[in-house]
């Protein structure tokens, strides 16, 4: 499974949707895009009854082949056993799914084609801002009992309260990795990485924001420059931005001349960075999906000498979720799928690097011994330490509003500079 | 300025099909030779080879004794006027005629001045500024002729240039070619399928059939002394009477006719042009015919007669008479060759 910089399909489709929906909107005489009342369920039995025979369209980023295979080969058959047909709709970017929901709502459709979205962070908060998500439904899911109700990663998504508007799916830990043949003595902090980059011109770079991975790196630099994760308020405000952003941007501007291509351009996304790493053009790279590294090395897409680089101050972690749009045509079926996805069997299977390698959102202490055994049996990776090790000293994500503000400032100050 | 053109054993085949079989032909300077033949006889291919637009499979093309092999079209000094006028649509009339001078590196002004002389020659000086798309067919062909002449070619090749014009325009073009010949005296090779055109314009005619030259000679010789039946047919001769030559005399239903000296004894056809037989009242002349059909050619009429001999099958003899022949179908008439002697061919 070679991972070349697969050209991600364009977002032009989104523009088409807008045009089409705008047309539909005008033709329906601008009657104010109100969506019919969302039907709520009293019990999960009621959900089960309604869901029987429904076809659920799960819109998710389609560029991860392991993820696609997991949904098609493991999750969908389990859903079928419970009478729900799960159909995966691949999108180039989760924004496409959110745009689709927004456009359908603007057109006044209440039988939306999006039933379930793999989402988190800014896309979730954008949706909440526009009130496109169904909320308060996750407490109905029986398998929520295996999650820690106090877990901050599950309670808040990039600073936006979850409020039962999305069901947790998996956790992720932002991780750096390096070529152990090129670097004998790797840095142990983010500041150390930037220093290393300055000392080794042309051997480091990061994906250009607004790419997801690049944005995370930007926020990590922000926290590092501010002196630690606890120094920056999670909530976004202009004051907080003006206080903390300049130092981060300055640090990045200073390191830019020492980056790959003297910082005149940046890799487009994580895959492009991986390609540079695999081609020995850079020696350090980064990912929010460290579990996939094992597989990438095994497949030869990354060199054998790839090693995970843990930072003393820890890195950012997050959870990603399954959300149901308020206008979803098959909401009950979507809830069934979200519940199955939370089951210990599915979570354990999904955590297997050979299957997908996504960290579980469950609290293992709440599981039965038999269920715990499923996680104990997971193979150990020679490259990636376990989740406990990776998430040592981890911190949560900043509020989603930080993301576009930082990206825009980076584009103006750092990217345009050179 | 004029040159001689010579083909020596020129052949051309396309894959399996052979279009030209070892054609040899000499065109003397300032002479006009017509290549006469039907479609598919290879006559256009021969011109394209002379012009350098096609290469012979074997054989040579010589101009003034020099071999043209490997000399590209543009260096041969041979101009070709095509069946289609092929006026450059992006140039006006004068610039079309000035094209060759421009290609030779002359200034626009000089080239146009040079071109005007040739436009005057073809009586189109008034059309100099006109765009190429706004000419009639005859005008286009005159521009094409002027354009070819403006190149001052050593040899001028004409590939059925008048075939698409109506008869009145064609007559005009014939006199234009006469003017050009008397003024510039270029060596001309004319390809045509029209024996009348060939006869009017050319000093000699080469008959091409199936890629071979059957006969090359002066116009009258081709008409009255064809080498073969095919030549006779191609030049419009309608009569070939079978019979026997014995001691210089051809014996047939037409009786005894003296033929050319040197004919060996044996079976031979007497070719007798339809214009060279007279109709006489029954009982007169050397043979008796029965009128089998009449066909009007306008001012002339073809009278088809059945001539029965003393032995053998009856032969058909066609006679061309001017005006009303004064005979009707079924009538018995007398027939008399105009000349005392005839021309016999073996095949």
């Amino acid at each position: 499974m070679p991972r070349l910089p697969a050209p991600v399909s364009p977002r032009r489709r989104a523009a088409l949707y807008t045009a089409a929906s705008a047309l539909a909107l005008l033709l329906t005489s601008c009657s104010g895009a109100t969506v019919g009342q969302v039907k709520s369920f009293e019990s999960f039995d009621e959900v089960r009854a309604e869901a029987e025979g429904q076809t659920v369209d799960l819109w998710m980023y389609g560029g991860d082949e392991q993820g696609n295979a997991y949904v098609d080969d493991v999750l969908a058959p389990a859903a079928r056993e419970q009478g729900v047909i799960l159909r995966r709709v691949p999108v180039a970017d989760t924004q496409d799914a959110v745009n689709r929901v927004l456009s359908e709502r603007q057109a006044g459709r209440d039988d939306g084609s999006v039933d379930l979205v793999w989402v988190n962070g800014a896309n979730f908060s954008t949706g909440r801002q526009a009130e496109v998500w169904r909320c308060g439904w996750t407490d109905l899911l029986p398998n929520m009992e295996y999650t820690d109700r106090e877990d901050p990663l599950i309670l808040s998504d990039f600073g936006t309260p979850v409020d039962g508007c999305e069901a947790p799916w998996h956790k992720a830990q932002f991780t750096f990795f390096y070529d152990s043949e090129a670097i004998a003595d790797p840095p142990t902090s983010l500041a150390g990485i930037l220093e290393w980059a300055t000392a080794n011109p042309g051997r480091f770079t990061y994906p250009a924001p607004p790419d997801f991975t690049g944005s995370v790196f930007l926020r990590e630099v922000l926290l590092s420059a501010a002196g630690g994760a606890d120094q920056v308020p999670l909530e976004y405000s202009e004051e907080a931005f003006d206080e903390h952003a300049p130092a981060a941007l300055q640090a990045l501007s200073e390191v830019a001349p020492s980056l790959w291509r003297e910082g005149s351009t940046y890799p487009r996304d994580e895959q492009a960075l991986n390609t540079l790493f695999a081609n020995d053009e850079v020696d350090i790279a980064m990912t929010y999906g460290p579990a996939t590294l094992t597989d990438l090395v095994a497949a030869g897409a990354l060199p054998e000498s790839t090693k995970v680089l843990t930072l003393d101050e820890g890195t950012v972690g997050n959870a990603s979720f399954l959300a149901i749009p308020a206008n979803a045509a098959d909401a009950a079926g979507a809830m069934i799928v979200a519940n199955i996805a939370l089951s210990p069997e599915q979570q354990a299977a999904k955590a297997d690097p050979a299957i997908w390698g996504q960290f579980a959102v469950l609290d293992t202490e709440l599981l039965t011994p038999a269920q715990q055994d499923q996680f104990e049996l997971l193979p150990e990776s020679p490259i990636v330490p376990d989740y406990a090790e990776l998430s040592r000293n981890a911190h949560g994500e900043l509020a989603a509003d930080w993301v576009p503000a930082l990206s825009e400032a980076w584009r103006q100050d750092v990217a345009s500079d050179r | 300025m004029s040159s001689s053109l010579e083909f020596i054993g020129t052949s051309r085949s396309f894959g399996e099909a052979t279009v030209l079989h070892e054609v040899s032909l000499i065109v003397e300077p300032s002479r006009c030779v017509a290549l006469l033949g039907g479609s598919g006889s290879g006559k256009s291919t021969l011109l394209r080879i002379a012009a350098g637009l096609d290469d012979p499979s074997s054989g040579q093309v010589l101009v003034d004794g020099g071999d043209l092999d490997g000399v590209p079209s543009e260096k041969r000094g041979i101009a070709l006027v095509f069946q289609k006028p092929l006026i450059f649509p992006h140039l006006n009339v004068v610039d079309n005629v000035a094209f060759s001078a421009r290609m030779a590196g002359q200034s626009r002004q000089a080239a146009r001045r040079h071109a005007m002389a040739y436009l005057e020659l073809v009586h189109l000086a008034d059309f100099a500024g006109r765009s190429a798309g706004r000419l009639s067919g005859g005008q286009e062909q005159r521009v094409a002729l002027a354009r070819a002449l403006a190149r001052n070619p050593r040899i001028l090749l004409l590939d059925e240039p008048f075939s698409s014009l109506d008869s009145r325009l064609r007559e005009n073009m014939y006199s234009l070619v006469e003017d050009i010949r008397s003024e510039l005296a270029p060596t001309i090779v004319l390809v045509t399928h029209d024996r009348r055109e060939a006869s009017i314009l050319a000093d000699s005619i080469a008959v091409l059939d199936d890629g071979r030259i059957l006969q090359h000679g002066p116009v009258a010789q081709l008409h009255y002394q064809p080498a073969t039946l095919a030549v006779n047919r191609i030049l419009g001769g309608l009569n070939a009477i079978s019979g026997q030559v014995d001691g210089g005399i051809h014996h047939s239903v037409l009786g005894r006719v003296r033929v050319q000296p040197g004919m060996v004894d044996g079976p031979a056809f007497l070719v007798m042009r339809q214009e060279a037989v007279r109709i006489l009242p029954a009982g007169e002349g050397t043979a008796v015919g029965n009128v089998a059909g009449l066909k009007s050619l306008g001012a002339h009429t073809l009278v088809r007669t059945e001539v029965a001999g003393n032995d053998g099958l009856p032969e058909t003899l066609t006679v061309e008479v001017s005006g009303d022949p004064g005979v009707s179908v079924g009538q018995m008439i007398g027939l008399q060759p105009v000349n005392g002697s005839g021309w016999a061919v073996i095949r």
């Binding site: 070349l4 910089p5 697969a6 050209p7 399909s9 364009p10 977002r11 032009r12 989104a14 523009a15 807008t18 045009a19 705008a22 047309l23 005008l26 924004q95 496409d96 745009n99 927004l102 800014a122 896309n123 908060s125 801002q129 526009a130 250009a208 607004p210 291509r261 005149s264 351009t265 940046y266 487009r268 390609t275 020995d280 989603a400 576009p404 584009r411 990217a415 345009s416 050179r418 | 012009a51 350098g52 590209p72 079209s73 543009e74 041979i78 101009a79 070709l80 095509f82 289609k84 092929l86 450059f88 649509p89 992006h90 140039l91 094209f99 060759s100 421009r102 290609m103 070819a148 190149r151």
Partner: protein
């Protein structure tokens, strides 16, 4: 032409064309109107509509820079495509045997999507790409992909669009040009003169039209510049798509403004192009 019949014929022609023209005009008109409304804040995703020209005036410098960049890329790509396309066509006409292969290769590139083409060019020209490996010059290899001169993106356009230009030119002149070139040869034109004094002027109308199409296409095209260009500066389409996809819903008006500028520039170029083509025809 008989009088009196003119108006009825025209009227009927218009009637017949209506079913085809109406949907196009309607969709285009409504989309453009929606884009204008969104760019002026009158069709927001959230909150009440409020008129604002902020999207147009807020960052004029960047909008102008993006427009200039897009025009530059489109102009360079068009000039290259037209020149290369014409030479391909001339080669196909001049040497029928090898030309047939070149013509077939050109025709084969047409259905390749630009996205795939851009991916392939990326693999070929990037720092650790095929070309670099073949040449074996890691240090000296120029920054073609993502470099400051947009070489990879322009190369992709020139490659794909020159094939398009060649086919348009061949389609329009192939029938007549052979005989005219023969005529030119017998009039003393060398091979070079035949190409530039006969084939080129004959191809001019189709070159002009295909140049217009190529220019407007490359102006509005997204994938190659996005995939093969540097992070900054941004051409119009990349800017429009980035802003449209931004998680910040308030960026939509700016996205629409960028898209509309690209539409307006494209329309302007088409208009000027048509005028120039028509003028040159009259001149003749």
């Amino acid at each position: 032409m008989s009088r009196g019949q003119g108006p009825t014929t025209t009227g009927r022609a218009v009637l017949f064309a209506l079913p085809a023209v109406f949907p196009v005009v309607a969709v285009l008109g409504v989309s453009l109107a929606a884009a204008v409304l969104q760019s002026l804040g009158l069709m927001p995703f959230i909150g009440p509509p409020s008129f604002s020209v902020e999207a147009w005036t807020g960052n004029t410098g960047e909008l102008v820079r993006a427009t200039g960049l897009s025009l530059n890329i489109a102009a360079t790509a068009t000039v290259l495509s037209v020149c290369i396309g014409f030479l391909i066509a001339a080669y196909v006409l001049a040497s029928p045997r090898m030309g047939w292969i070149v013509g077939a290769l050109s025709a084969a590139t047409i259905p390749i999507p630009h996205l795939i083409g851009a991916g392939a060019i990326g693999l070929l020209l990037s720092d650790s790409g095929f070309l670099e490996r073949v040449l074996g010059m890691p240090a000296a290899f120029p920054a073609l992909v993502g470099g400051p001169w947009w070489i990879a993106a322009i190369t992709e356009y020139a490659w794909k669009e020159s094939a398009f230009v060649a086919l348009v030119v061949l389609g329009s002149i192939a029938r007549s040009v052979g005989d005219l070139c023969d005529a030119a040869a017998t009039l003393g034109a060398t091979a070079r003169q035949r190409v530039f004094r006969v084939v080129l002027p004959l191809a001019m109308p189709s070159l002009a039209v295909s140049a217009l199409i190529v220019f407007v296409y490359t102006l509005g095209s997204y994938e190659p510049v996005w995939l093969l260009g540097p992070t900054s500066p941004e051409p119009l389409p990349v800017r429009a798509v980035r802003l449209f996809g931004s998680v910040d819903l308030t960026a939509r008006p700016e996205a629409m403004a960028s898209a509309l500028v690209s539409v307006a520039v494209g329309a302007g170029v088409i208009l000027i192009g048509i005028l120039v083509v028509r003028r040159s025809r009259e001149f003749r």
